[in-house]
Amino acid sequence: MERHFFDSQLVDLKGDILFMGDLVEESIIDSVGALKQLSRSRAEQVIASDRIIDGWELKIDEECLELLALKQPMAGDLRFITMAMKISTDLERMADLAVDISQRVLELAGKPLLKPLVDIPKLTLLAQEMTRDSLKSFVNRDAELARKIILADRQADDLRDLVQQELLNDYMAKDKATILRAMPLLLVARHLERICDHATNIAEDVIYMIEAKVVKHHQENLD
């Protein structure tokens, strides 16, 4: 027996999550693009667009609450709807971090870069990949891909630490005059690492959604 009306509402919810995910991916790409070009206008565009993403989070929350109240979903449907709420929150936070990166670009614009960017682009690529893959694992119900994302988070932590150590030890500790240009880069690395954390959260939620297995905070439970 089909529940056509309810199922179509679930399809709509999935579509809304994916649409919001696309906006967030764009936002991240634009913010790091703004960083590469030190483009003030591109950074301002990311900041201005954030309220659209905030609106999507509110819309998805409302959709989910309505489904919970009116349809009394159970089992797999319940897990899907509750995880959709959590995923939209993580996506909104990722967009906020793209805004934070853009704020750093505004602080850096007009000044020469302290050093060529080496590890930050690697971290950027990882953040983009993890974001895209987390949404892919959600739409394809791919728990295996979700598990790979969770394991990749370690790389993000390592890259952030690398950037941090280099800027602290090789620049800020040696020459205080570099602090104003080094700190924003250090923060960009942190923002990108936090984006990876949120992508990891989404992956953990996807595993719960598919398998009803809690892997949050316990990577040893990934199997």
Partner: protein
């Protein structure tokens, strides 16, 4: 951690004539818990619950194989009186069935049938039972009125009070709210949650949300088989069997 087992069904097979209505049922009813039975119409859940107080014996040409025990006592043993079992295991039916007597007499009747004649004791027992069933306040000034004048929800609570008066240990509810309005239903559900502190409760319900709201354990029946049994929170968030998932998500069939 589960409470102790109050009643147990072991390898239960039940037949109406040649028609097998229940197949290889194994299930525990835990003390001071609410156990819900869910499943589509005709799945055997009402037939199953009636085994716990030997009500199916009142139907001709039925056969029970397997064992039903109450505190390790085989309730179908030839040495066991069905009336004694029904004294310990009471039942509340879908349609409230008060006796065509006064409210007072509906409660006192069971006590008198069991040989209790002390008027003061009976009066106190009537009051206590009606209070436990959360209906005392509504009827205390009209105990001599006919029970048939009560509303459906009140009648059902009166029927529950009847069970409490003779101090059943287990109370079986066969779709107790099916004919009640939402407010009466909510009152019965609250009462069940309160009663489980002192009684073991089994409830058959078509209303999955009701099972989710009030039960500790849930069993899903289908075509005479127990498909899945477990903690209610697990059954309704992550059922193990696909048939259970299909039923509780409304995609059954």
């Amino acid at each position: 951690m589960f409470n102790k087992v109050k009643m147990r069904a072991e390898d239960v097979n039940f037949y109406y004539g040649k028609n097998q209505a229940l197949k290889n049922i194994n299930l525990d009813i835990y003390a001071n818990h609410v156990t819900a039975m869910i499943g589509p119409s005709g799945c055997g859940k009402s037939t199953f619950i009636r085994l716990f107080n030997r009500m199916n014996e009142l139907v001709l040409h039925t056969t029970l194989k397997g064992k039903i025990s109450l505190d390790d006592l085989d309730i179908n043993s030839p040495l066991v009186d069905a009336v004694d079992i029904r004294r310990r295991v009471g039942m509340v039916f879908q349609k409230p069935n008060p006796f065509p007597k006064t409210i007072f007499e509906n409660i006192s009747y069971g006590l008198r049938v069991n040989g209790i004649n002390d008027k003061a004791f009976i009066a106190q027992k009537v009051e206590d039972s009606l209070k436990k069933a959360v209906i005392w306040g509504e009827v205390k000034d009209r105990l001599n009125d006919s029970a048939l004048k009560l509303s459906g929800g009140q009648q059902q609570r009166l029927c529950i009070a009847r069970c409490l008066a003779i101090e059943n240990e287990v109370i079986l509810f066969d779709e107790p709210c099916a004919s009640l309005d939402p407010i009466s239903t909510a009152k019965i559900e609250e009462l069940i949650l309160e009663l489980k502190k002192n009684y073991s409760i089994v409830i058959v319900t078509h209303n999955m949300q009701q099972a989710a709201r009030i039960s500790d354990h849930t069993g899903f029946f289908l075509l005479g088989e127990l498909i899945e049994f477990g903690k209610t929170q697990d059954i309704f968030t992550a059922p193990k069997d696909k048939k259970t998932e299909a039923y509780i998500t409304g995609r059954f069939g």
